[in-house]
Symmetry: C2
Subunit: 358 residues, 2 copies
Amino acid sequence: MGDEAGKPNAILSSSSTSDQTLRALKPLRCIVKLGGAAITCKDELESINEENLRSVCAQLRQAMTPCKSSSPAKNLGMDWSRRLGNPPVSTIDEFRNKQALDLDNNFIIVHGAGSFGHFQASRSGVHKGGLNLPLVKAGFVATRISVTSLNLEIVRGLAREGIPSVGISPFACGWSTCQKNIASADASQIIKALKAGFVPILHGDAVLDHLQDCTILSGDVIIRHLAQLLMPEYVVFLTDVLGVYDRPPTDPNAMLLREIEVAEDGSWSIVKPNLPHAKGADWCILHAVEITIAAHDTTGGMETKISEAAMIAKLGITVYITKAGTDHSLRTLKGEIHSSPDDWLGTVIRSRRISSSK
Amino acid sequence: MGDEAGKPNAILSSSSTSDQTLRALKPLRCIVKLGGAAITCKDELESINEENLRSVCAQLRQAMTPCKSSSPAKNLGMDWSRRLGNPPVSTIDEFRNKQALDLDNNFIIVHGAGSFGHFQASRSGVHKGGLNLPLVKAGFVATRISVTSLNLEIVRGLAREGIPSVGISPFACGWSTCQKNIASADASQIIKALKAGFVPILHGDAVLDHLQDCTILSGDVIIRHLAQLLMPEYVVFLTDVLGVYDRPPTDPNAMLLREIEVAEDGSWSIVKPNLPHAKGADWCILHAVEITIAAHDTTGGMETKISEAAMIAKLGITVYITKAGTDHSLRTLKGEIHSSPDDWLGTVIRSRRISSSK
C-alpha cells in the first residue's frame, strides 16, 4: 500500500462529490476499528463473541453520550426485528415522545472479519484474484455472505444500544483496488450518511481489482483511507490484547509498547517504555516488534495493522490501540486519553511532530 | 414518479461512469422482481416462505443453465457458512476441479420487502421523511436492518443453488431521491458486478431524500430505473398470484388479464381477454383494474407495480407478471413466452408498438 500512502490529495481528487460534501461536514470525531478478534471467537467458524460485542456497543454508546447528560436517558433500541420479541419492542412508541437523540455520534466504525470471511477467502484464494476460476468466484460470493452477515449483527448490536447505525459495504458502494492498492473509493455516501446523523458501519470486504480481478480489502486499509480523507480527531483500534507488544503477547516476557512515534519519513521509534535494546537505527526497533499472523488471515494480520496505524499517525492523527471492553477502551473512545497516563493500558501511535510540539 | 419516467437520457447522463462501462456490457438478459409477497409470509412479521424461496432460486438456476446442458451438472453451493454444516460444505473442494461455471447468468434480481421492513417503515413514517424526528431516524435504521437481513437470506438462497450472487444495497451505493422520485442512482457498481460474472441482488430500501430527508425506494421503482438504463431483453415480476386481475384475486369472479398493451402516451388497454365492459376510453379500463394495497405497504402496492410495469413496457421491453414457483414462472424466466399462449398463465404487458409489428 506504500506508494499511495503519501498522496492524500490524489485520493481526494478521485471523488469530487466527496470533496464538495466534505466542506459542509463538521469535523469527524473518531474512526473506530472493531478488530475481528475482539468481537468474534477466533477459533470457532462464524461465531460472535456476544459478550464482547455487547460491551463494545455499550461503551460506544457511552462515548457518544454528551458529558452534560449526567443521568443518561433510557436507551431506546433501533432494531425492531421479530426475534427481539413479539409484540415488537415497546421502544417504538417511546420514540414518539422524544424530541432529539442527544448523541454526539459523529463516528465511523469499521470492523474486521475475525472468524467470519477469512476461512472462505483463504480456502478459495480470493485475495490472490482470478475470477475466471469457479473456486475464486464462489469464494468471493461465500466471503461476502460471511462478512455481510457479521456486519448485520454489528449494526444490530449498535442499534440495540440506540446508535443510529447503517451498514455500508465497500463492495456495494464501488470500492475497488488495483493490485491490492485502493484504486477507487467513493466516500460520498459515507459522508452523506454522517451528515444525516447516522453512524456508517463498514467492513473488510471482497472487492473487484483492476489487475487481478478481485482481492480482499482489509478493514485496516479502509480506516487509513478514510482517515486521510476525513481527518478525524482520533482513531481507535479495539483489539483482543492490551496493545502492541515487543513480542507475541502470549510470551510471558512480552512488554507492552506504550508510545510509538512516527517520523516524517515513516520510520518509528518506541518512546515508552524506554527499551535499552531499542537504541539505534529505527529499522532495528521496527524489527524488534515481533508479530504473529493467523494462518487464515488473508489481510496481513498485525503487521498490516501496525503499518496502517503508523501511516495514519504520520498524517497527524493520533492512533490508540487498546483492549475492547475494558476501562481503558472506554476512556479512549471518550477521547480522554491525550498522552499515555500510567493508569491507562494501550499503545499510542503518534506523529513525532505532535509529540515534539507538546 | 411520472414526470421523470419519460427521460431515460437524463437518468443516463447522471452517471457517466455507467455510460462508459455500459458500452462494453453484453445485453442484459433479464431483470427479475422477486415480490415480497412471493418469498415471505405476508401476515407473519419477518418470516421467509422457505419453500417458495427455494423453489424460486431453483427455477432461476434452471433458467440460467444453458439449453445445451442436457444433463445439468451437480449444483455446487456458494454459501459456505457454519450453519450449513460442520465441517464446512464439501463443495469447496469440488470447485477446484471445475473449469467454468457454465451459466448464462446475465440477470439482475431486485426483491421487495414483504413482511420485512414494511412494518418498521410504516410504524415510524420513514416514507414521509423527517430525520430530525428520533422516531423517523430509528425507523430508518430498523427498516434497513430488516430489509438487509432479507437480502442476505435471498443472496444465501441463490448462492446455495450455485448462482454467484452479490448483495447490493441501494442506500449503500448512494441511491437517493428528491421528493420520492429517483434523484441519483449510480449503477456503475451493478454494471461492474455483471461484467465480472456476478448476479447483483438489490432490494427496496430506505434512502436519503433531498427534500424530505428520507423515504422508501421501492423495488418496483428500482426495476424501472434499471430497465431504462440497461434495456434488458425482458422483465419478470414474480408474485404470489397468477398475474393482474380485473378485481381483487380473492373475488371469485376475478378475471386474469392475459395481455395488456401500453400506448406511446402511457395509456393501457386490455387485449386479452376481450372484455366487453372494457370498450371505450383507456382510462376507463385502467380504472376497471381494481387494486388492493396492504395496510403496511409504504411503497404503493399493486398500483405502483402496474404503473411501473407499464412504464417499462413503453420502452419496448416486455414485462411478464406471473406466479412464483409455478411451471408458468419457469417458462417465463427461461424466456420461452413470447406471446401469451393458452397454456401459460400470467399477464404480459407490452408496448403497442411491439404488438402491432408482430
